[in-house]
Symmetry: C2
Subunit: 764 residues, 2 copies
């Protein structure tokens, strides 16, 4: 009856589930392939199951494991759990019992006075395990029941695998459970294992060898031909040297051949089941055809999705793979870029200029090669049919585009003469003690751009001009074009031996993963849609991002505005290129012009240009038949749409902009110079204009030469950013054995702090 019912369970779930392809018996080569894993073993180390805060158990962790396993099971995968830790459950229970019985005894014999002295004896781990088993299983069952998922308890020992008959029995039992869509929960039968080793942990409970659990999970995974084994414990994964030591780095993908390059530290806190045992088990599973990921299942922020993240192919923990990919990892690329970048920074400005000019030449000389690669990308995109014509347009290169690209590069080469090593300040601190502040590159830049392949040489030239190393990540659609363009860039860099300073990051790398490479990357520059920028700003927690995600620009038409200028400026600001970040979004008009011909002319012009008008709340209140009222005064339309709102005064316009603007670019149109200067002075935006279109907010139009981007940040560069935004400074002090003590109260020297002229004239 039970079996019958379970079969029906399975029947129903099959209907709901997605059918997934079975792996071919070999382990997976890439993390991305983990999505196909059908049969998955999740191993929960004791740290995951039992290590809690002072309060006791980590119930939340177990619950999230259950949630994720149930979810994956509901996708049609076959999930198995290998769990540790009935010990801690049992410990909790046994202690309680002991305290209770002690308290009863004491209460009977000697009153309550001595209750405080009660101490809990050290508990035997195997007894704890036995006592905890039922509680743990009840918990798993109560949790899985919420997902209508049946579980089955399977107790095994490592020895069961050495006996062929037992192994076959186990195998067929588990196969049958999986067939019935039941999640087997496998645990070592702690009550029959040898007594624990003397190391003590878990506060008063002797430890059971959990090494068994690592190899148990691996044996089981291979026996059951699982596609993936996820081993969760309290370490992030495998490090190349003992974690905590200088330079220890988490290994993203581990290849069996690399095993020599690992230095294992002393065993982990628990004393047994250290990393070496885990790796041994993982390699065993890998040889048997099961892919393995070792990851942290106790990190409070990620535990809720660590299992599903792994199955989705995200960079979590260490992935064991037998197939070593050809190229370097992105971490190795960053290292190469930084080293080569330091040499680039030390070159003479003429040499950096020569590299850029050579790249410009190559773009013209090798145009056939570039255009052929571009044609491949275009054909692929057209066949896939997923790209809009606007995107295809951006993707395509032409001889004309390449020529103008080359011209732009030569301009950057010129600008590069005066970037790195410029002296900004010189001070004579004392006799023979001179201080200089000079410009230096920022370090390693990560530039992320979308379908546009012309970005690559441009951005490379900017990085070279400023002596920065570059990781460039382009869109998948332009992969072939980018590859050729990058080869040419490296060819150019090679004339001065700094080939590796510009690296092309594989399209397989996730942007989110790159944004986590702090300490390796110094600045991220996203070039693309505001969605891309916002996404990157969110992902890059400790790396600065140069850019802006919003451009809510205002034009304020003052009561003393000249009619022709208003019409020209509003039309240009809104209609010249409505998708640009410096296009107008909100038109603020002074109340006095509301019922004038000027206002009618503005409206007529906007109608002629087919601009859809939204009314701000105040404007709407003036009208009988108003256009649709705005949902938010903070909207960036990015299209032929705008908001109109009424203000009483210039001051009110400023207040409105401070409140709803994005500090990008804001404009006043007026003939009154006093009003204009007040506006320019008081308004706190990166760009403030008087009688000029907001569309001028642009590096090229500002005459900055190359444009790196537009920043609305309040530190470092602000507004349109030229090459200077890619530079920082360092202080160089040259002395003759000077010490701070020389200048102390009892010292012999006095500070001069004399400003000296800078040797190179400021080029601007």
């Amino acid at each position: 009856m039970l079996l019958q019912r379970l079969s029906l369970c399975r029947l129903v779930t099959c209907i709901l589930s997605v059918s997934l392809a079975r792996a071919n018996g070999n382990s997976y080569a890439h993390r991305g392939e983990l999505r196909q894993a059908k049969r998955i073993v999740v191993k929960l180390g004791s740290a995951v199951v039992t290590r809690g805060d002072e309060c006791g158990l980590a119930l939340g962790r177990l619950a999230s494991v259950v949630e994720q396993v149930a979810m994956l099971q509901n996708q049609g995968r076959e999930m198995m759990i290998v769990t540790s830790g009935a010990v801690a459950f049992g410990k909790q229970r046994l202690r309680h019992e002991i305290l209770l019985s002690q308290s009863v005894r004491q209460a009977l014999h000697s009153g309550q006075n001595q209750l405080k002295d009660m101490s809990v004896p050290v508990l035997e781990a195997r007894a704890c395990a036995a006592a905890g088993q039922s509680g743990l299983m009840a918990l798993y069952e109560a949790m899985f029941t919420q997902y209508s998922t049946c579980t089955a308890q399977v107790l095994v020992t490592n020895l069961d695998f050495h006996d062929d008959q037992k192994r076959q029995n186990l195998n067929s039992t588990l196969q049958e459970l999986l067939r019935m869509n039941i999640v087997p929960i496998i645990n070592t039968n702690d009550a029959v294992v040898p007594p624990p080793e003397p190391n003590s942990d878990l506060q008063g409970v002797n430890v059971i060898s959990i090494k068994d659990n690592d190899s148990l999970a691996a044996r089981l995974a291979v026996e059951m031909k699982a596609d993936l084994l996820i081993a969760l414990s309290d370490v992030e994964g495998l490090y190349d040297s003992p974690p905590g030591s200088d330079d220890a780095k988490l290994i993203d993908i581990f290849y069996p051949g690399d095993q020599q390059s690992i230095t294992y530290g002393t065993k982990s806190r628990v004393g047994l089941g250290g990393m070496e045992a885990k790796v041994k088990a993982a390699l065993w599973a890998l040889q048997g055809g099961t892919s393995v990921v070792i990851a942290n299942g106790t990190h409070p922020k990620v535990t809720g999705h660590v299992i599903t993240d792994i199955v989705e192919g995200k960079k979590v923990g260490t992935f064991f793979s037998e197939v070593k990919p050809a190229g370097p990892t992105v971490e190795q690329q960053t290292e190469m870029a930084r080293n080569s970048g330091r040499t680039l920074a030390a070159l003479h400005p003429d040499q950096r200029g020569a590299i850029i000019c050579h790249l410009a030449d190559l773009l013209v000389e090798k145009k056939e090669e570039i255009l052929a690669a571009n044609k491949t990308d275009m054909d692929l995109a057209a066949n896939a049919g997923q790209l809009s014509s606007a995107l295809l347009n951006r993707l395509s290169l032409s001889p004309a585009k390449l020529n103008s690209l080359a011209i732009g590069l030569r301009q950057i080469a010129l600008a590069s003469q005066d970037s790195v090593g410029r002296v900004l300040r010189r001070t004579r601190v004392a006799h023979n003690l001179e201080l200089e502040q000079i410009t230096v590159p920022i370090g390693v830049l990560l530039v992320i751009f979308e379908a546009r392949p012309d970005c690559l040489p441009q951005v490379s030239a900017l990085a070279i001009a400023s002596g920065n190393a570059l990781l460039a990540k382009g869109g998948k659609e332009a992969a072939n074009t980018n590859r050729v363009l990058h080869e040419l860039t490296q060819e150019a860099l090679d004339i001065h031996g700094v080939k590796e300073a510009v690296q092309l990051v594989s399209t397989r790398e996730e942007v989110e993963d790159l944004c986590r490479l702090d300490k390796m990357i110094d600045l991220i520059i996203p070039r693309g849609s505001s969605a891309l920028v916002r996404n990157i700003q969110r992902a890059a927690k400790s790396i600065p991002v140069l850019g802006h995600s919003e451009g809510i620009c205002h034009i304020y038409v003052d009561s003393e505005a000249a009619i022709d200028k208003v019409i020209k400026i509003v039309r240009d600001s809104k209609c010249d290129y409505p998708a640009a970040c410096n296009a107008m979004e909100t038109l603020l008009v002074h109340r006095d012009i509301l019922r004038t011909t000027l206002f009618d002319q503005i409206i007529d012009m906007l109608r002629t240009e087919r601009v859809k008008i939204h009314a701000g709340p105040r404007f709407a209140s003036y009208l009988t038949f108003s256009p649709s009222e705005v949902k938010s005064l903070r909207t960036e339309y990015g299209d032929l749409e705008c908001c109109i709102e009424v203000v009483d005064s210039m001051q009110e316009a400023i207040d409105h902009i401070h409140r709803y603007g994005s500090s990008h670019t804001d404009v006043i149109v007026t003939e009154n110079e006093d009003t204009a200067e007040q506006f320019l002075q008081q308004l706190d935006s990166a760009c403030v204009f008087w009688n000029a279109s907001s569309r001028f907010a642009d590096g090229y139009r500002f005459g900055l030469g190359a444009e790196v981007g537009i920043s609305t940040a309040r530190i470092h560069a602000r507004g349109p950013v030229g090459l200077e935004g890619l530079l920082t400074t360092k202080w160089v002090l040259r002395g003759d054995g000077h010490t701070a003590a020389d200048f102390s109260e009892h010292g012999t020297l006095k500070y001069l702090h004399e400003n000296l002229p800078v040797t190179q004239p400021h080029s601007n």
Copy 2:
């Protein structure tokens, strides 16, 4: 028997638990007082209990609620849970049953072909509730059992509170349960409530009025004289206008008198139990003497500690209080500071200078008042006996200290003349179209400093000089001194009507909470220990922090170093002030000097100065009896200790510093100019020195005038930062109706991009 056992439970727990004071019947005035709450009702809205991802229920959320409740219970508090949502549990179960029975029927009648067409009917909510009740309770019980905590199920309806007899019965039942240390889990008896309203939610289940649950929790809390009601749902708390609308702000503390200032939005997604009902229930509880916090119990990142955070007095959700504190909230202070700061920025430089000079005068004039307040702080600190003599020393002010403080302020006043509004660049973009880049204040600064009260006038003067608004947060120990100093600062600011530009933040505010005020604060400057800086860098996710947490400075002694300079520089760098960030931590020596008298003299000097020496791995390998080997080459000792390591060449020294340094300050000692220039050029640190002590890395010693701090960041300011680090720039464009279209291919104008001289000469 059960009762007897439960009493013993209670007995044991009492012994283990901390005894907490009972509240006095009135609600709490401050969040900090919530720590005293003994009896707490936690209300879980349906969003917390039932709204999951596609997978079903939010098991992890329930588990973390159980963990927190059990932990608080174990602290000796009396916890009660009011839970929603047996509906969703039942839905899951009933659906499953229906599918099963359908499938059986279909399998019998028509084979399996039509199974795919099976659809699940809309389920009646009350039936779901009844079916789900047992599953929900089983889950609570299984979870609480892991903490050895007993639970009891109590089903009530709102009507039970209207019947005096029923209410008394309920009261005494709950009192008895609490007395026995049982957690009552209270739920509405959904099976007997009126039928659901037609709004549909939860995919196919009609909704039961959960409004009942809000008022039920409030009624229960008052009836049971609970100290605190925590109401968790899927909103962050109460907003001053409908969430999602422009300017909607989360209210930190809500006072009943403020109710008019709230605009309620349309009801929440669930249709019932909108915010208005929640507030009504909260106010009802508040009137009855129970404090209330409404918070989000579904946010994945914080759910794990939302309840304990609230009980610890952290700023989570909205706290309802009857007692309105005298001063403004920190959010209001920030707003006031920003507004007043904008006026400050618009003043003439002379006016800002005058404010600072006036403050300098006041420090001397009002010294008695200041010193009296300082004495109070000193006495309090001495009585508490918790501060070390070094800290007491920092805390104390003297007439001499005040005088030199006043002198420093007058220097800042001088420096302020040339800070805000300086033209950095002028470009003629076209005829009558001129662009200027000018310096402007960053905006609102948050400066956090420790026990040192002299920080306050210094930092205020820096902010005033740079036209920035300031939130200053000083240490608790200096509260009285800071209050007086702040009053004097405001008195000085008042001479130009910008009194509110500098705000003193209450010592009650948590630094972590302040660091979360992004969009309100533009830059954080921590002044204090590196632990403080690190803490703030961690907490401030999206606000830039100016500072450095590490100063691992190196002195490299080249093979061609002059002996006297080496001794002088190494002694000064290590011993002048070992706790400073610019003190030497690692001494790198060229291999060739290892067995020379120079080396012996260095060692002798270090021994004489009682510097403890640690050996780097390479150095250790040269020695028979080596000093203790370093644990990490990245150690900042901050004391009379240092590491010595051997390198083969200047190049290897650079590699070592790049690998283990913190890019703060690094020094080469050599007589070879070529080697020195190579080092200065290639080394990538904020300060690189030749034959000078690392201790010169300091704003005052560099001649920057006032020092804001030292930054090891790679963007914005780097190295010792003067007033310039508090400035950013804006671009001002003055035109005559110019548009971008004028310059297009078919336009009439051409860009000139002519560099114009800047009118004010660069003062440095």
